[in-house]
């Protein structure tokens, strides 16, 4: 369907993307605004970025968020990948319906309910709220996203590869480790990145499950945003947007280079 790249189609794409990107672009521009008044342009300045690095609270929150993100994404990736294997490879076990339900439910569960229920659990078992409770909470909902990402790759996976490995003498665990995992690795990485960004991004669940001393960056931003737009927050947001963009572009380039390398090797091999 590449016919009909008409004026109308180009216009809808351009307008759509303008809508998606303009607010972020404006935010980035105004983070370099010298004026204290956020909506009045007062010339170019990086003073807000300078101020950020002396804002102890913000830096602490960023550090907490990073630690929670790295840890929860890693645990969620392990658990989510195992769950995906269980869902696709073991069609029969006791409680499979409940298991499937529990993997999918958090995907559609409103965050307020997930947060509320986890908080009530931590209170009920008298678990001190802080870094660990936020991490546990993040693992729980992001592992389900990882499971879905890895599952879709496992479904399109040629099952005879696993059978071949076992036929050649590899136990199920070795088959998983040396054949299945390497083949679905890109999906596992994508799952990890998704889990990591979900954790970095989360405000609601963290607000419920966090405790004193474990304020995450979104919580910090939120409490300041409620008081109004400040150039400093613009600067924080710009840094975050920049990091994400950098990450996505790097990932894309690495992928592309690998593909190019592969096809070149292929051409050489065929020659």
């Amino acid at each position: 369907m590449n016919k009909g790249w008409t004026g109308f189609n180009i216009a809808s794409v351009v307008i759509g993307f303008a809508f998606l990107y303009l607010p972020i672009v404006i935010l980035v521009i105004y983070s370099f605004n010298a004026s204290q008044l956020v909506t009045v342009w007062g010339g170019f300045s990086t003073r807000w970025y300078g101020q950020l690095f002396s804002n102890r609270g913000l830096l602490d929150a960023a550090w907490v968020t990073l630690r929670v993100g790295l840890l929860s994404a890693t645990v969620a990736t392990i658990l989510g990948t195992l769950a995906a294997v269980a869902l696709t490879r073991y069609t029969r076990f006791r409680g499979r319906v409940l298991f499937t339900g529990m993997v999918y439910a958090p995907l559609v569960m409103p965050e307020v309910i997930t947060g509320l229920s986890l908080l009530l659990l931590f209170v009920a078992i008298d678990f001190d709220r802080g870094f660990w409770t936020v991490t546990l909470a993040h693992v729980t909902f992001s592992m389900c996203f990882v499971a879905v990402v890895v599952q879709s790759r496992l479904l399109s996976f040629d099952r005879s590869l696993e059978e071949a490995a076992m036929d050649l003498g590899a136990t199920p665990a070795r088959t998983f480790l040396f054949v299945t995992l390497p083949v679905v690795w890109p999906a596992v990485i994508a799952g990890w990145m998704l889990a990591f960004t979900l954790s970095l991004d989360d405000l609601v669940i963290a607000s419920f499950t966090s405790g004193p001393g474990a304020t995450t960056l979104p919580m910090k931003i939120y409490s300041q945003v409620r008081l109004g737009v400040t150039p400093e927050i613009n600067a924080v947001c710009t840094i975050l947007v920049g990091l994400v963009t950098l990450g996505v572009i790097t990932a894309t380039l690495v992928n592309k280079r690998r593909e190019v390398k592969k096809s070149r090797e292929g051409e050489l091999a065929m020659a």
Binding site: S160, L161, D167, G169, P182
Partner: protein, 380 residues
């Protein structure tokens, strides 16, 4: 039946005919059901050492399930499989002394050719030097030495097929299982590879079991063929037995092309029977030992066993009809005669000369006939 005269191609090799020979593999009353669907139904089968055995059937006939049960990917619902005196029930695929070549080849995409072959050897804890010798040996066997460091996606289909074969041979299994081994190759390559595989099997002295839906492939390669249908084996035999002495209408029809006449056994003297077809035709047939006088029987005769003529013919078993279709295939010409009762009689004629002496064309009357021993009387 005259099966004695239709022996194996390798005349001296027929362990199945020797009662003192012990089978290498025994399927004993094996049944496999999937959610109420019976894929394999109370099936027993013996396969002997050094045999090239083919399981032939349409998709869904249970042939792949049989192979997968032997490999250990499926567990029989009932019955057991014995390999070399050892009951395989409960032994997982990774502990069975059989290896499989997969239809999709199932080459590990993230490993080089050499690593693919090394994979199975590593699982056995084979020492590195020995492993390398073995890899070199099997690569030489399939003529792929130069490709050891390629990744599977840098190989052509035929090359991938060779690597898959090398990988499954590397562990020197007691039995090699081949699931549609040539299914993904184009016609020319397939024909070449058929002979290579049989030569290889003969030279290595290994036991091969192949699953295929392609009768030509089975006939070319196998010592014995089992024709399968709906979870049952309809007939086991050497390729000539299957083709020339099918035991039922199903097998006759499944393997090759055939004309089948239905009739009542009007007269029986020893092997010679006279069949009367419902439309009044009379067939004189040899090989009628199994048919009983007065019962319904069928006469099966292959198109190439008939002769066709534009003039009336003498003798028994002459049928006349209108030339309905003519298909010139090159090496032969296929005629469809529409008989007076409306049925179609297929006759094929080898084109020995570049121009046919037979000047028949559409809608003309023609005569076809066959000798009493050209076909076979079937009671099933």
């Amino acid at each position: 039946m005259k099966t004695q005269s239709l022996g194996s191609i390798r005349k001296s090799f027929a362990p199945w005919a020797d009662p003192s020979e012990k089978p290498l593999i025994r399927f004993e009353n094996v049944t496999k059901t999937f959610d109420g669907f019976t894929a394999v139904d109370d099936l027993s089968l013996d396969i002997y050492t050094r045999e090239f055995f083919a399981l032939l059937g349409a998709s869904g006939c249970g042939k792949s399930t049989l192979l997968r049960m032997l490999a250990g990917f499926e567990r029989p619902t009932k019955g057991r499989i014995v390999l070399d005196g050892e009951d395989l029930t409960g032994i997982p695929p990774y502990r069975r002394p059989v290896n499989m070549m997969f239809q999709s080849y199932a080459l590990f995409p993230h490993m080089s050719v050499a690593k693919n072959i090394a994979f199975g050897l590593k699982q056995d804890g084979m020492a590195k030097s020995e492993r390398e010798d073995r890899i070199a040996e099997v690569l030489k066997l399939v003529k792929m030495e130069r490709f050891a460091n390629r990744k599977p996606d840098q190989l052509s289909g035929g090359q991938q097929q060779r690597v898959a074969l090398a990988r499954s041979l590397a562990k020197r299994p007691k039995v090699l299982l081949l699931d549609e081994p040539l299914g993904a190759l184009d016609k020319k390559l397939r024909e070449e590879t058929q002979f290579e595989l049989t030569d290889l099997q003969y030279d290595l002295g290994m036991t091969f079991i192949m699953v295929t839906h392609d009768q030509e492939e089975a006939m070319t390669m196998a010592d014995r063929i089992a024709v399968m249908d709906q979870g049952h084996i309809r007939q086991i035999g050497t390729p000539p037995e299957i083709y020339e002495a099918p035991s039922s209408r199903f097998v006759a029809d499944f393997v090759g092309s055939v004309n089948i006449f239905e009739g009542k056994v009007a007269k029986k003297t020893g092997e010679r029977v006279t069949l009367e077809t419902p439309s009044g035709g009379v067939i004189e047939a040899d090989n009628g030992g199994a048919a009983e006088a007065g019962s319904t029987a069928w006469y099966a005769v292959r198109p190439e066993k008939l002769i066709i003529s534009a003039e009336p013919l003498d003798g028994p078993n002459v049928f006349s009809g209108e030339v309905w279709e003519i298909a010139y295939i090159g090496d032969m010409t296929l005629f469809h005669l529409k008989l007076d009762d409306g049925s179609i009689l297929r006759v094929s004629m080898v084109n020995r000369a570049r121009s046919s002496p037979l000047q028949l064309t559409w809608h003309e009357r023609a005569w076809a006939s066959f000798a009493p021993d050209a076909g076979l009387v079937l009671v099933r």
